[in-house]
Symmetry: C2
Subunit: 148 residues, 2 copies
């Protein structure tokens, strides 16, 4: 009895859909950021997938590649590290559609993607043409509110 081919999992599909090769590092990075409602930095992802899984260099190259291909979007922070979060399914190498607000909690230090909250438009002075908008809030998140 020949083994039936099992259906491709979510991570495999994601890589295929964006035309990227299946490699252990990429699968591990995708698994680390998938499902999380907040953005992770390079070092955080490294800890998450286990320090022995890959080295910094490959990880950073993977993150940059994922951003260019529409798998991750960069989340600017008021810190000096770069953070990445999973993109919505309609993002591709051609264009990102992550126009939502981000929220940094000073207590748990997570930077959440508030996917439901769209970035409000602003009227710019004449001559300015914007193609990207980032809205970052800082404060205390749902889970870190002081009791009362």
């Amino acid at each position: 009895m020949p083994p039936l081919p099992s259906p491709p999992d979510r991570i495999t599909q994601t890589l295929v859909r964006h035309g990227l090769r299946q490699t252990p590092v990429r699968r591990a990075v995708l698994a680390a950021v998938a499902g999380k409602g907040y953005a992770l930095s390079g070092p955080e992802i490294e800890r998450e997938i286990g320090p022995g899984t890959t080295d910094r260099i490959t990880l950073y190259r993977t993150l940059k590649s994922f951003e260019q291909h529409g798998l991750l979007h960069r989340v600017p922070d008021d810190t000096d590290v770069l953070r990445y979060a999973a993109c919505s399914i309609e993002c591709s190498a051609e264009a990102h559609f992550d126009n939502h607000v981000h929220f940094r909690c000073g207590t748990c230090t997570h930077t959440y993607c508030l996917s439901q909250v769209a970035v409000p438009a602003v009227a710019l002075p004449g001559g300015f043409r914007a193609d990207r908008r980032h809205y970052l809030l800082s404060g205390t998140c749902q889970l870190c509110q002081p009791a009362g």
Copy 2:
């Protein structure tokens, strides 16, 4: 004939108002950022005031001190360097009032303070409490628009 005391200049006034000592480094940093409509990074300020004027360490300490005392506000960028711009006159060590939008031009790489454009409010999911809001636009500025 004793020399008359000349009236204190703007920079002197600013330092006095915030309770900071008059030092050459501080005066140079203030002079570098004053009047500019855009934010400067540490290395940029260093180049601006002349590399021999001070060293990196003192400059960074000065910038941090100025931020805490309400002379400068930090401008988050989609790059990985910290940028600072002059505060409005009502900022102090107690509180900042720089709720305006910032605009990064990909051509001239300046990050402008659009002081006239207030950051629009957003409705947050229940439980999130924000005390700071950053709105960063990226695109092409007034002066860098392609002719047409």
